[in-house]
């Protein structure tokens, strides 16, 4: 039995959680995280199933981004475990987590500002193909035609075809978000974590992003989305978890969440539901 399985089953056994959910890809188990006495995350349990789009919603300061940071190794939890596809992510470095098949799209665009749009997308593709380190000082970057073709297709998918040779620093914030999305998509991750992927986009671009994410879903990619825009959440999510004050207060289908009184009280507000 692997360490991850041991952690998972021990914790599940102690706390009476289901450890046999079919097709479970991501299992967040009793995660705690405090910052200077402030409980950012408390007893957080979450399961994400293969191929689903799982939205995490909650008011500002609910702990959504902290939870994503715990998943990608940016923040070490005080307690609890994150298990992805049988591997414990807790304690792993961000590059190891990415190599296991978890990619992240950041809330604030994190791109390579000095590189072109094409180079920005080719770098993650090389990482996927060559692993975390490959000493190849005599392999020409310009000779990577297969990777370049694939990158061009993904860049066209996110609508940046006309800006392919521009440096990332010259893109607008919305375009940087698209570029980030392309950087995540080119890796064909098993799990894509999206932190407010449509923030800073105009409505028609938001709708286009929704279409794109739906299309990805058809390819079977599992996604976790943090989003404030309820239009995006209810357009994409198969299941929704609601975080408030660092705790999961509700989980279920979009319909169940819409009708959940706790959610109405904590987040959505009567008039929106």
């Amino acid at each position: 039995m692997s360490v991850a399985e041991t952690i998972r089953d021990d914790v599940a056994g102690e706390r009476g959680f289901q450890s046999d959910i079919p097709d479970r890809v991501l299992h967040i188990d009793d995660v705690h995280k405090s910052f200077a006495g402030l409980h950012a995350l408390s007893n957080v349990d979450l399961d994400v199933r293969q191929g689903e789009t799982h939205a995490i919603i909650g008011p500002n300061g609910a702990g959504k981004s902290t939870l994503l940071n715990v998943c990608v190794g940016r923040i070490e939890p005080d307690r609890g475990a994150v298990v992805f596809d049988g591997d414990a992510l807790t304690g792993k470095s961000p590059h190891e987590i990415n190599q296991l098949g978890v990619a992240r799209v950041f809330q604030t665009p994190e791109v390579f500002l000095d590189l072109s749009v094409l180079e920005n997308v080719m770098v993650p593709a090389l990482s996927r193909r060559d692993g975390h380190f490959k000493l190849n000082p005599f392999t020409a970057f310009s000779g990577e035609t297969e990777i370049r073709d694939e990158a061009e297709a993904v860049i066209a998918d996110v609508g940046l075809k006309n800006r392919i040779h521009m440096t990332a620093s010259s893109l607008s914030r919305g375009d940087k978000r698209r570029l980030e999305l392309a950087m995540g998509l080119i890796q064909h991750p098993k799990l894509l974590l999206l932190d407010e992927p449509t923030a800073g986009m105009a409505r028609h671009d938001t709708n286009a992003t929704i279409d794109l994410l739906r299309k990805i879903k058809e390819r079977g990619m599992t996604k976790v989305i943090i989003e404030h825009d309820m239009h995006v959440v209810f357009s994409l999510a198969d299941r929704i978890s609601v975080l408030a004050g660092g705790r999961i207060i509700a989980q279920g289908s979009p319909e169940e969440i819409k009708n959940n009184p706790k959610v109405k009280e904590a987040y959505l507000g009567e008039e929106q539901v």
């Binding site: 470095s93 390579f112 996927r128 310009s142 075809k161 800006r163 709708n207």
Partner: protein, 394 residues
């Protein structure tokens, strides 16, 4: 790799090679066409090109690269003392030892980034410098410096007073007078020494060009641009940084070796922090991150060091002889602060002007000139790029 070089890459390589190989003629008008200075242009050009692989591509500023220059110099002289006066084993030994040394220092220093990395490398280099003057005197010969000697006649003579040169003795190569470094009999001083350094500079430039255009080079540029993002992209940045540091250290070791090849004496002053600072100046002055810039910067600084430092009031009077005498005296008095021993003042001013007005170094100046000429010839096209809405792509 070669198949993917563009026409402009080949053109750059050919022009660079032609310029380097014709320096003995082209530098004649400015009085810089003598072997000693030409050798320094090529050697420090190699040092700067290597330094640029680390600083220019990754943005990691090492203040301790002179340590590798010193290690390369000592290794080369030891090769002359123990093995042969032929320069090839000296080159190989210097590059290998500098590489191992760089691996050790890089492994520790690259645990930190930014100013902490710079300070760590500076500390290591200063430790090396002080060790060379103190406890390592049996290896470095302290303040006197390590020199080649005639082959010792008896085993009783210490290594400090006589060399062994096992390979030369085994091959029965005769030695008359002061031992001279050679490449299969061709002496490595004067113009042959310069051409040897020049060919190595071209080879080093070519390798740096390959690295810059490679997948590895792209990862180094991505580290400089956003190292944090690269980690989340699945890349373990530390091995890339260590590799760049070691390659850069090997370039410095090669440069140090060439210093000993053209003048077979190695002293600890080559490891001093001022030498580390000099290569930083060369790279920034020429243009960090560019291929040609560091070589240009090295040439400018070595020219200033050799020529401006040799100017005196007599030369200044000659240069300003067209002025009326009272004005001439004032001007000469003023400029005398900047020549001779005051050449560092000239270098400092030159550096300040470049950094303030041309942060990208001399190469940025060339780029601006080219743009100005291009714009003068035809008005710049208006940007027409627009974002394609995602929905329209289908």
């Amino acid at each position: 790799m070669l198949g993917t070089f563009s026409r402009s890459d080949w053109l750059l390589l050919v022009i660079f090679s032609a310029v380097v190989l014709t320096l003995p003629w082209t530098l004649e008008p400015i009085g810089a066409a003598y072997p000693d200075l030409l050798q320094k242009f090529a050697i420090y050009g190699i040092f700067a090109v290597g330094f640029n692989i680390l600083f220019g591509l990754t943005g990691y500023l090492s203040f301790g690269h002179a340590a590798f220059l010193g290690v390369g110099s000592y290794a080369a002289v030891w090769s002359f003392k123990l093995l042969t006066m032929n320069v090839l084993p000296a080159l190989a030994l210097s590059i290998a030892i500098a590489g191992v040394f760089a691996l050790l220092i890089g492994y520790i220093s690259l645990r930190r980034a930014g100013i902490y990395f710079s300070i760590l490398t500076l500390a290591f280099a200063q430790m090396s410098y002080n060790l060379a003057y103190s406890v390592l005197t049996p290896i470095t010969n302290g303040e006197t410096g390590l020199q080649v000697r005639a082959i010792r006649k008896s085993a009783e003579v210490s290594l400090r007073d006589g060399d062994v040169r096992i390979i030369d003795q085994a091959l029965g190569i005769p030695e008359v007078g002061v031992p001279i470094t050679n490449l299969f009999g061709m002496k490595m001083s004067g113009y042959p020494g310069f051409y040897f350094c020049a060919v190595l500079l071209i080879v080093c430039f070519f390798i740096a060009m390959c690295i810059s255009r490679s997948n590895f080079g792209m990862m180094l540029k991505a580290i400089k641009s956003n190292q944090n993002r690269l980690n989340y992209t699945g890349i373990h940045t530390r091995p890339y940084l260590i590799a760049a540091f070691v390659i850069s250290g090997m370039y410095a070791g090669l440069a140090g070796s060439l210093l000993s090849i053209t003048d077979p004496i190695a002293g600890a002053e080559r490891m001093q922090w001022t030498a580390s600072g000099e290569v930083v100046l060369m790279t920034i002055l020429g243009g960090a991150g560019t291929l040609v810039g560091p070589v240009l910067g090295a040439g400018l600084i070595k020219y200033a060091e050799q020529k401006v430092s040799s100017w005196n009031e007599g030369i200044l009077h000659g240069a300003f002889s067209f002025l009326p005498e009272p004005v001439q005296d004032f001007v000469v008095e003023f400029f005398s602060f900047f020549v001779g021993e005051g050449w560092h003042l000239t270098l400092g001013l030159m550096f300040m002007i470049i950094v303030i007005f041309l942060p990208g170094g001399v190469m940025e100046g060339f780029r601006r000139l080219r743009r100005a000429f291009a714009n003068g010839a035809s008005p710049p096209p208006r940007p027409v790029a627009t974002t394609t809405p995602i929905a329209e792509r289908d």
